[in-house]
Every structure is written in C-alpha cells, then in structure tokens.
Subunit: 232 residues, 2 copies
DNA sequence: TAGTGGTCTAGACCACTAA
DNA sequence: TAGTGGTCTAGACCACTAG
C-alpha cells in the first residue's frame, strides 16, 4: 500500500483541520499555492481536495476557495467518520470485549464460504454521551488477517483508528439499513428506556480497502435526546 | 447553466443504466473507448465516471472496468436519487397539492430574511408500495425563482425530475436527521398504523445548484415492512 | 482586475486483471 | 501479454468572486 501524492496531501490537510490549525470557516491555501508548495500538479491537488469534500471536511466555492466546513454536532453514524471521532463527551464501554465466535445464524448478510469458516470476532459496546447511554452496538468482523486483534486494546478507544493504524485497513463505504422498532430486552436494559419507547435500529455494512473484508454492525440508538445525522 | 462534457456523458450513461440498456453487473465501455467515442479527453471521462460512482450507479475495479452496480431494492431516501426513481410499484398521492403558504413557525431550519419574506410552497404526499401506504412526506420549497410551480403538474410524478427539467435545478447534497418516534395522529391516519407502532422520522434538507435554494422535507416512514437504506 | 475554482486536453507511466 | 483503471504532469481557457 504505497502512499500517493494526493492521499498524502489529503492526510496533511485533514490533520490540519482536526488539530485546529485550520479552523472552521477558514479558507485553505489556493489550489495553485498547494501545488507549488508540495511540488505537484494542480490536478493532483484537486484530487486530494475532492476526497476531503466527499468526506465532508471542506466545501468548495468557485471564485472564493476551499472552506473548512462547520463541525457537525450530530451523532454522525451515517457518514464514514465513525462515532468517537465525531462526538465529544462520548465514552465507550465494552459489554463484551472482542472475542472469537461463530457467526450468528441466521446472519443478515451473505458470507463467502471462506469467511463463514473463519468465524468472526464479536464485540458489544455501549456508547454514552455526557454519561447517558445512547447507543448499543454489536460489531462483527471476519477472523481473517487480523492477528492478535482480541489481545490488544484499541487505539484511542476507536475501532476504525485501530484498524487503520495497526492493520492498514481503511473504511471505504457504508451500506445502511434503518428501521424504527420496538426495543428488545437488551436495549431496554442497557439504554435504560421504556418498553414503549421507539428505538432506532441500524444495520451497517462497512466495505474496506481489502476487498474480501467487510465489517458488520447492528446499532440500537435511543433518539429521544440525540438524533442521528450525516453531513455528507 | 451550460452543460459540460462530463455532465453530458454522465447523463448518457445514467440513462443507459436506468433504461436497462446497461444491465446490472455488466461492464461499461472502457475509459479509452468512451473518450474516443465522444471525442473528449480521458480525464473528462473519468470525471463523469467519478460522479456516477459517487451516486452509486457504478463500481470501478482496477484492471477490470466500470461495473453497473446491483440495483438497490430498499427505499433509498438517504441518497440523492429520491423516491420515484428507485422504487418500482410505487405510487404517489397528493394529500395537499403544491400551494403557496407561509413558512411554519417555528421551522426546524434557519431561513434568510429574503426566503422568510417570500413564503413557501408546501405540499403533502403519501407514497405507497404495492398499494400499501409507506411514507408520508411534507415538503417545503422557498417561493423564489419557481414561477408557476403550483399550476403545472409534475413530470413523471417526480419533484426532482420536475425541478431538473423545468427549472434546471439539480440536487447537490442532502443533510439528514433521523429519529424513531411515536406516531403522530396524522401518520396513524394515513399510514394506517397503530398508536404503539414505532415510526421513523426523517428531516431532510436538500441543497441545490442554486446557492440560496434549499428544499426541506419531513418524512414519516413505516418501516415494519420496508426499511430505509442507502447504497452510497 | 486579479485571483479563485471549474473544465478540458494530450500526453505519460504504473498497478492490476484475465486470457 | 494486452487491456483495464489509477496516478500524474504541464499546460490552457472559462466562470465566478471580491476589492
């Protein structure tokens, strides 16, 4: 996995934004400036900026420039950013730490024979905001090419950051399925809601840069105080 | 609004896919072939294909080609495609036809003084699949630059198609806000659900190619039979 | 008017896939 | 090995924004 010019620039700018060096509403250096500074062609700069725009970090305006987008305060599960990178005052608690298991049967998605046989890594997490439980998440990863996954703690409490830094796995795409349901017993227990409270249920399928590797999550979300959104 | 080479090619390919001339799983002509056939540079072809990929119509594979994506059978409200272009056997019924009105107060989003003063165009639609009511949609458009909007019927029953063909307005972006709620009386009546049934509520804000023009929709969706998804 | 992003060209080389 | 998409360059002109 060799870094390209555009992905390198993309990472530099993303870090500038996340670290606050580029504040929301500020204008990035112009495409020509970036090209000159990094010794790359303008088309390559545009490629990097297009990626940042797709991920929701910037907004482009003809004649003005590339503007750092306002930070979205919603629980942005629907975009690719994940949870811990978006919500502040959020905390993660493992109800079940990552462990090896068989895939549940039946499983909502089709699995290849190879994945089926390898079994899965399963975890159950409760996510809270300001101490209030908001989200119960069941996550399934195929037990392929993830050595020692269960024996090392997460980096920064983040599954995606761990996958990226430890295994060079990047999330490319999300497929999602949303329903409003009556809460199951488990959700009632952990989210401390009533049996009559409606609950948001999301089934997510994350595609990664490894073609055969998908990550599956089922989320139960109490949307009475917070809503689920995207900034896409 | 002058059509560009890449948007023209994008439209041609999109039509080929939607009309079935390019079937799901089939491979589009190669970038070089498309470039030669349409007398444009390969970079321009790539621009068009990138847009199609972003909208979920195709998937690119290095060394193989651009593959037409499997048609997503879910009610894809979360992507930009809209409703009528995605779901077959779907029907639209106006509960309230488009008419001029004041903006509701309070309104979930901030409006500029100009928009506020212009008032809005409001409509209420019930959408059914196979004769079963699934979705109640309340839509608000600013009454700016949409002459005679209320006096002409929709093209193909589609708001987006009407905006595109009659007013050259294209949807660029969607911001969404999702909740599971207890149904309101109106939803119970039109969707024929019980008071205890959980209901999915979506607040959508569509951005368009006209900077000051946003479209707002509130959707109430019965997800007991169909779920809401995206193919992003 | 100067500077920005948007579109477009005509090349080049590389990485991957399949026969 | 031939053909595909992925990356990249060095130019050009246009449309839009702001001073």
């Amino acid at each position: 996995m060799k870094p390209t010019h555009h992905s390198r620039l993309q990472q530099i700018l993303k870090n500038d934004i996340l670290s606050g060096k580029q504040k929301e509403g500020s204008v990035l250096p112009s495409e020509n400036e970036l090209a000159a500074k990094h010794n790359i062609a303008r088309a390559t700069v545009r490629h990097a900026l297009a990626s940042l725009e797709k991920e929701g970090y910037i907004e482009k305006r003809q004649g003005k420039g590339s503007i750092v987008k306002a930070y979205n305060k919603k629980i942005s599960i629907l975009n690719i950013k994940g949870f811990s990178s978006v919500v502040s005052n959020a905390s993660n608690q493992f109800i079940l730490k990552p462990h090896y298991a068989a895939w549940p049967k039946p499983f909502a998605y089709n699995l290849s024979k190879e994945m089926e046989d390898a079994g899965c890594i399963f975890m159950k997490r409760l996510r809270s905001i300001n101490g209030e439980p908001i989200l119960l998440e069941l996550t399934y990863l195929p037990n392929i090419g993830l050595p020692d996954f269960c024996f090392n703690p997460f980096i920064n409490d983040s599954l995606f950051e761990t996958l990226s830094k430890r295994y060079l796995i990047e999330i490319k795409d999300v497929e999602q399925d949303i329903r409003a349901i009556k809460p199951c017993d488990e959700a009632i227990k952990y989210l401390k809601i009533k049996k009559s409270d409606p609950l948001l249920c999301l089934n997510l399928k994350y595609a990664t840069n490894r073609l055969e590797l998908n990550i599956y999550s089922t989320l139960y979300c109490d949307t009475q105080k917070y809503s689920v959104g995207n900034s896409d």
